[in-house]
Amino acid sequence: MLTRPIKNRRGLGRTAVATLVAFTLVAAACGGDDDDAVTTDTTAPADDTDPPDTDDTDPPDTDEPEAPVVTEPPAAEAEVSYGGRIVVGVEAETANPWRPANMNCASSCQFIARTFFDPLVAVDSELDWEPYLAESIDINDDATVFTITLREGIDFHDGTPFDADAAMQNINGNFTSLLLSGAVKDIAKGPDGSVLMEKLDDFTFTLQTGFNGDPDNPIPWPLFPYYLGGQAGLMASPTWLDAAEAGEADETQAVGTGPFLLTNYAPGDRTTVQRNPDYWLSDDDGNQLPFLDEIEFRVIEDSQVRGEALRSGDLDIMATSDSLVIADFADDANFEYVNQDQFSETNYIMFNLTQPYLADRDVRCALLQAVDTVDLIEVVAGGASTPSIGPFTPGQEGFLTDNGYLGYDPDAAAEAIAAWTAENGPLTINYSTTPTVTNLQTAQYLAGEWGAIGVNVTIDQIEQSTLINNALFADPAFDAFGWRNHAGLFVDSQYFWWHGSSISPDSPLSLNFGRLDDPVINELLELSRSEFDEDVRRGYAEDINRRFASECFIIPTSQTQWGVFHQPAVQNIGRSPVPDDSTFLRDGAGFPGQVWLTAAFLAD
C-alpha cells in the first residue's frame, strides 16, 4: 500500500485573504544607486565609470522605467512619548518559526521578525545598504572579499554577547541551511561544507565569494551586502540556537538583538513582542529606542477583514496588497498611509516546469494567451491594479513596457491546445491557490478562461505556509499556482529564484519554485551578478524580461501595490534611524508590506 510519499494536497479552509502568495524569503533589497554598494568603502574598478546621477533616471534604450522615488518620511507631529501598545494586522502565519535559517519568511514574517531580530545590513531611504548590526563592511576592488566589522557592546536578549563568533555561527547556519543556501551559493565554502570565514579579531571577520561555493573560483559580487539585509543576515543568539538545535529550548521563543523581545507566540493567531529596555540604538535626539511597550501582531488572512478591523479601531496598523482595500483607504483622511508601489512584487501564475506538458512552450503560451489580464483585473480587483507583462515592476532593473509579451489571443490559444491534445490526449491543469476570496475568484476566472480553450482545470486551495512549502519542494500535485514575488531593484535579487543551479539533484528543496532552468536566463543572471556597470546590467535584465515573454515561463497578471495603513496616533512610521547616519531605514525595501517599528510611538 505504501508506494511513495503522498502528495500534499490540502483542503481549503481559512476563509479569505486578498493577495497572491507573498514570498520574500531572502530578498536582496532594492537600491537606487548600486555604485554605492561598491564605492561606499572602496573604489570601483576603473572601467566602471557610469556616473551615479544617470542611473535609473535616464536609462538608455528602455521604455522609461520609472525612477525610484526617494521620499523623506514625514516628521512626527507629536512629541515622542514612551509606552503604549499597538496591534498590527498581518496576512499570514509563518511556517517553521523562528530560527532565521529555517523560517519560511514571507512578507508578514519579515514584518514580525524584524522586531526581535536585527539584520547585519539595512536599506536606507536613499535605497543604499547601510551597515546595521555591522559597523562597516569593506569590499575589495574585485568585490570578492567582504570584511565585516561588528558593533561592539551589543548583547542578545539572553545576555549572550554579539561578537564575531556569534555572527559567524549565524552566517554559517543561515548560509548553509537547506532553505537559504541556494540564495547565497556563490559564497565560498570549505571542504566540510561550512562557509569559509576568517576571524580577524573579536569583532571582525571576512567572507569571500566562490562560484557555486568553490573558493578557487571567486567571482565579483558587488551587490552581495544587500543579501545581508535579508533573512540570511538576521542574527539570533547562538546560545538559543544551540539549545533549540538540541531540543532543549523552544524554537519559537526567538532570542535576537532586536528592539523587542518575543513574549508570546500563538501560531495561526498572534505574536506578541515587548519592549527591549536595553536596545542598543537611540534615535538622533538621543532617545533610547524603542518607544512602544508592546506590539501584538495578529494574523488576519482576509484583507477586507483587516481593513474593517483597522476601521473599527481593533488594529493600529494594517498592511495589504489588495488593490480594492487600498483604493478604499487611500482617500480616507482618518488613516495615514505608506504607499509601497515601487520595486514591489509581480503577481503572476507560475508553472511547475517539471510537468512534461508545462515544459512545452506551446502549452504555456496558449495558457497565457487565454487570459485577458485587463479583464481579469476588472473582474477581480474592480480595475484597481495595473496589468503586468513581465516579471518586473516599475523601478526595477529590467522593467519594460514592451518586451514582446504575446498578449490575449484566445483563438490562437484554442488552436494550440487543440493541436496539443490531438497528439497527447486531454490536458488537465491543477491550479493551486491560497483560499482567500480574491485568490479564489482569480482561480475561478482562470478556470473559466482555460476551460474555454479546452483545458480541464481543477482548483486546489492550500493554506499559505503550506503552499509555500509545497512550492519549495515542487510538489507533484502542482501544475500552476498563483504567486506574488520578485520584489527588489536589482536583477541579482532574483538570481536564486530563476537560476537553474538552484535546482539541486541532492536537495529536494529549491527556491526556484517553478524549476526554471533555461540556459539563456542562467547565463544572463551569472553575467549580471558580476557586473559592475549598471547600464550593462540593466541590459541583461531586460534580456531576461524578453526571454520570459517569448518563452511564457510565467503568466504575469498585475503589479503589486502595497499599502500600510495606520491610525494617526501611531507616529514616526518611516523614521526608524540608521545608526551613525542621518537617514532613515527604508520601509518595504525588498520586503514590501512591511514597516520598521523601532522608532514608532503612540501619540496621546
Binding site: L2, R10, R14, E93, Y265
Partner: protein, 321 residues
C-alpha cells in the same frame, strides 16, 4: 455502586474506541505518516527528527495506538513540526477562547430558555406559548452558520459596537471585561440562541408533564401560590433533565464553535483544528479531535453519574430505556 462501576467501564471502552477511531481517521490516505508530520515534502533531517521524537509512527496502527495512548494520558499531546509548537502549549493558547465561548453560550441559552420555558408551561397554549413555540421551532432549524449570518447582517454591520466578521479575538475577562464582552458576545450569542431554542422546548414539555403529576396537584390543592409551585416545585424537578440536555448539547456546541470561530473569531481550538487540517499536521489534528471527543464522552459520563447519585429512580428508568 454496581451501576457506577458499570458506567465507568463503559466509559473506558468508549474512550478506547473513540480515540482509536480518531487515530485511524487521521491516518487515512497517509502513505507515510512520518513525512506528513514533518510537513509533507521536507528534508531528510526533518524526517529523522520526527522519527526520533515519535519512533512509533511508522509502525502498524495497532502497535502505535498503545504508545500514543500512553503519551496522551501522560500529557504529551503531540508536536506541530510546521509551527514548532507542542500540543500542550497549543491547548493552553487555544482552549480558553473556546471554553469561554461555550460557557457564555450555555449561559445565554439557559438565560433565555428557563424563563421562556417556564412561562410557556405556566401559560400553556397562550399567545406567548404559541409564539415561543414557533420561534423556537424556527431557531431549531437555524444552524449556527445561519444565525451567524443573521447576527452579522442585523447587528454587527448596523452597530460599531462589535468587531466585524473574523475580527473577534481573545481577551480574557480579567484583563478587560468590556473587551471580553465585545469580542465574545456575538459569537456566544450565535451558539446560545440555538441552545435556547432546544432547551426552552425541552423545559416546557418536561414541566408540562411535571405540572400534571400528583405532587404538584397536591401542592396546588393545598393553596401554594402558582408562582411558588412553578419555580420551587416544578422547575426543581426539571433541573436534572435540563442538565442532561446540556450535556447532550456539548457535541453540537463543539461543532457550532468550529463554524463560529471561523465566522467571527475568537480563534480557539476549532480554528486551530481547521488550521491543522489544512497543514496536514496529523499529530495536532489527532490531539485536538481526541481531546474534544473525550470531552463529550466525559460530559455524558458525569451526567450519568450525577443521576446515579441524585436520583436512583431515574437511573433505573434510564437503564430500562
Amino acid at each position: 455502586m454496581r451501576y457506577v462501576s458499570q458506567r465507568l467501564l463503559q466509559f473506558f471502552v468508549v474512550f478506547i474506541v473513540v480515540t482509536f477511531i480518531v487515530m485511524v481517521a487521521t491516518r487515512i490516505g497517509s502513505a507515510d505518516p512520518v513525512r506528513d508530520l514533518a510537513g509533507g515534502a521536507v528534508s531528510d533531517q526533518q524526517i529523522a527528527r520526527v522519527l526520533n521524537d515519535y519512533p512509533y509512527l511508522d509502525q502498524s496502527l495497532f502497535l502505535q495506538y498503545p504508545q500514543w495512548l500512553l503519551d496522551f494520558v501522560t500529557g504529551n499531546l503531540g508536536y506541530s513540526y510546521t509551527q514548532s509548537q507542542s500540543g500542550l502549549a497549543m491547548f493552553q493558547q487555544r482552549l480558553p477562547p473556546t471554553l469561554f465561548m461555550g460557557f457564555w453560550a450555555i449561559v445565554i441559552g439557559l438565560a433565555i430558555a428557563v424563563p421562556v420555558g417556564v412561562y410557556s408551561a405556566y401559560k400553556r397554549d397562550g399567545a406567548f406559548d404559541r409564539g415561543a413555540s414557533y420561534t423556537s421551532f424556527a431557531f431549531i432549524s437555524m444552524p449556527p452558520l445561519v444565525i451567524a449570518v443573521a447576527l452579522l447582517f442585523l447587528v454587527v454591520t448596523r452597530t460599531s459596537l462589535f468587531p466585524t466578521v473574523g475580527g473577534s479575538s481573545y481577551i480574557a475577562p480579567w484583563d478587560s471585561p468590556w473587551g471580553h464582552f465585545r469580542n465574545f458576545f456575538i459569537p456566544s450569542l450565535a451558539l446560545g440562541l440555538g441552545l435556547a431554542a432546544v432547551w426552552s422546548r425541552f423545559l416546557r414539555a418536561d414541566m408540562n408533564l411535571t405540572l400534571q403529576s400528583d405532587f404538584i396537584m397536591l401542592a396546588k390543592a393545598k393553596g401554594v401560590s402558582p408562582a411558588r409551585v412553578l419555580w420551587r416545585h416544578a422547575l426543581r424537578s426539571s433541573v436534572l433533565s435540563l442538565i442532561t440536555s446540556v450535556a447532550l448539547q456539548v457535541s453540537a456546541l463543539i461543532g457550532g464553535a468550529v463554524v463560529v470561530e471561523q465566522f467571527f473569531g475568537p480563534r480557539g481550538i476549532g480554528d486551530r483544528l481547521v488550521f491543522a487540517i489544512q497543514q496536514n499536521d496529523i499529530l495536532i489534528i489527532q490531539a485536538i479531535t481526541a481531546v474534544l471527543v473525550v470531552g463529550v464522552v466525559l460530559a455524558n459520563l458525569i451526567v450519568d453519574l450525577l443521576y446515579a447519585v441524585v436520583d436512583p429512580r431515574i437511573r433505573h428508568a434510564r437503564k430500562l430505556g
